[in-house]
């Protein structure tokens, strides 16, 4: 199963032109290397402060653009990984090994990614029927990949 592991922002990481501390960067690099060696990490990235971002607010049919920065720092994210592990507990164990991503207090949030099976119940019976009928007319393949 997959998890998105989210590093929350801090007032420091939200500062204009904020760059991570060199020491922390080195430690994080080592941790990432460990994750890669363990075959756990699928993707990862760090995010610039929200001052370089924007939000699009939806209300019915209208769209309003709000430029960053955004105030509620604790709810913002500073970076993320996508991991493939066996369980939430395994993700938690890995996160516990992560160096503290910011000076002082930080928070890392772990969220499970939806798998296709989770959506199976919302496919309509017609969609299923259509697929079954269509299949009989399409070419067969020996290449099952």
């Amino acid at each position: 199963m997959r998890f998105m592991v989210i590093v929350k922002a801090t007032p420091e990481s939200e500062k204009e032109g904020a760059l991570p501390d060199a020491q922390m960067l080195a430690e994080m690099g080592k941790f990432n290397e460990e994750l890669i060696k363990a075959g756990v990490v699928l993707a990862m990235d760090g995010l610039q402060p929200s001052s370089k971002g924007a939000r699009v607010k939806f209300s019915g049919k209208s769209r309003t653009v709000v430029d960053g920065p955004f105030a509620e720092t604790k709810e913002l994210i500073a970076g993320f990984w996508m991991w493939q592990v066996k369980s939430l507990e395994e993700a938690i164990e890995w996160v516990k090994r992560c160096p503290n991503p910011h000076a002082g207090d930080s928070e890392i949030e772990i969220r499970q990614v939806f798998e296709m099976e989770d959506f199976a119940p919302i496919l309509s019976q017609e969609e299923i029927q259509y697929k079954v009928e269509k299949r009989a007319e399409l070419p067969n393949q020996a290449i099952k990949r």
């Binding site: 363990a38 066996k86 395994e90 299923i128 070419p139 393949q141 290449i143 099952k144 990949r145």
Partner: protein, 424 residues
């Protein structure tokens, strides 16, 4: 016991720690004891100790170091009791000291040693002296951190059978004095290919379940992918390792489109490409690039990965570069002559030169006794006959294919195609 029960929670944590650490713990212990079976027993004892102690004492800060230290203490006790190998005993003592001194920062100084030990563990688990089945079970157990029960469920085999398979494999390794080492020189290629074979077998067992009601067991695919990703970091200079990883990543990118909600297989050309997993495709293409950077030559896994990449790059089935696929299959057939490769090549040929050209190839293959009982041969043949409008013959071969497949879902699909021939 409920999920919120603290004991249960600790058990789940211990399982997770085991999953992360067991292979490294076992690898390190094998180097010390020179006996992979004993190493695993010791690691298991440490796990049992953790299960007994951690619910009371809490999970230690460095659980891996705790497990290793506990296992090593057991090893020392054992050696002391058996009064064997004075030198080995001293070595263990020294190792333990070093370990205790470096406990807070275990991974930094020992990084290279750990990687070397892990690679040795990969090679010994996949040693050709063992049957392919045993290699797969042992690899999942020692490197994947799976329990015997999990392996048994994955392979739809009774647990005692798997347990026995593992015990026998460990005994064989000990009896034949298989060294705990990374093979060198001319040996390396053959041994590496045995490793790749095992990982791909595990992947395929998950991807196209050979028996049973499920067409896929995705967790087994994930286990194989994890092993492949680990191996790619352990042997970054081996193009075929990246080739296999690329192949598996791209195949896995189609996982969610290969089966309809009602459980029938959906063939490649009718899959909803919008639902292919772009992250895995990207990872697959990156693996292929890495393979190219390490070597100019293309081995069989890399060639298959490139064929898979041709499909992955095509946004619609019509955009598929079939001539390139035909040429890749031709290269593959020259490298590893096999009727199955020829059969796949025939399918690609049908896309370039039409069904008749392909049928000629398939009919020639039908005389090959090694394809007797292989359901995809009549299945492809039936499909080509269907396209040529030769419905009664098509029906015959669809039925033959249905009778040969061991997968119930696939059988249903083949029978429905046979039935469709009758109405034409």
């Amino acid at each position: 016991m409920s999920a919120t029960d603290p004991h249960h929670a600790t058990h789940r944590t211990i399982e997770a720690v085991w999953r992360i650490e067991s292979s490294r713990v076992i690898a390190g212990l094998t180097r010390l004891t020179r006996d992979v079976g004993l190493a695993e027993d010791l690691a298991q004892e440490a796990l049992v100790a953790a299960l007994e102690q951690w619910p009371q004492s809490g999970v230690p800060d460095n659980p891996a170091a705790w497990l290793t230290a506990t296992a090593k203490r057991r090893a020392i006790d054992l050696f002391r009791r058996n009064a064997v190998a004075e030198r080995k005993y001293e070595e263990l003592g020294r190792e333990l000291e070093v370990l205790e001194q470096t406990m807070p920062d275990l991974s930094s100084t020992l990084d290279n040693t750990i990687s070397d030990d892990l690679l040795r563990l990969v090679f010994i688990s996949c040693h050709p002296v063992l049957s392919t089945e045993s290699r797969a079970a042992l690899t999942l157990r020692l490197l994947g951190g799976l329990t015997t029960d999990e392996i048994a469920r994955a392979f739809l085999t009774p647990e005692p059978t798997i347990a026995q398979r593992i015990v026998r494999a460990k005994r064989t390794l000990a009896d034949k004095h298989i060294p705990f080492e990374v093979p060198r020189g001319p040996d390396l290629a053959a041994r590496l290919s045995s490793v790749l074979e095992v990982i791909y077998l595990i992947f395929n067992e998950g991807y196209s379940a050979t028996a049973g009601d499920d067409l896929m067991r995705p967790t087994l695919c994930e286990d194989a992918l994890r092993l492949g990703r680990i191996l790619a970091e352990l042997t970054p200079r081996e193009p075929e390792v990246h080739g296999l990883l690329g192949l598996m990543e791209i195949q896995a990118s189609r996982t969610r489109t290969r089966i309809s909600p009602t459980g029938e297989p959906i063939l490649l050309l009718e899959q909803n490409r919008a639902h292919w997993d772009l992250l895995l495709i990207h990872r697959g293409l990156t693996a292929i690039d890495r393979a190219h950077k390490t070597s100019k030559s293309r081995g069989p896994y890399l060639l298959q990965a490139e064929i898979a990449a041709c499909h992955a790059r095509a946004r619609t089935p019509e955009e598929t570069d079939w001539p390139r696929i035909v040429s890749l299959y031709t290269e593959l057939a020259a490298l590893t002559p096999s009727p199955i490769v020829e059969l796949n090549r025939a399918v690609a040929v049908s896309m370039v030169h039409g069904p008749q050209a392909a049928l000629d190839l398939v009919e020639a293959l039908a005389t090959d006794p090694s394809l007797d009982g292989y359901h995809l041969l009549p299945s492809v043949r039936a499909d080509l006959l269907y396209k040529l409008g030769r419905y009664p013959e098509a029906r015959h071969y669809f039925q033959q294919a249905a009778a040969l497949t061991r997968n119930t879902r696939e059988r249903a699909l083949l029978l429905s195609r046979a039935a469709a021939c009758q109405t034409r």
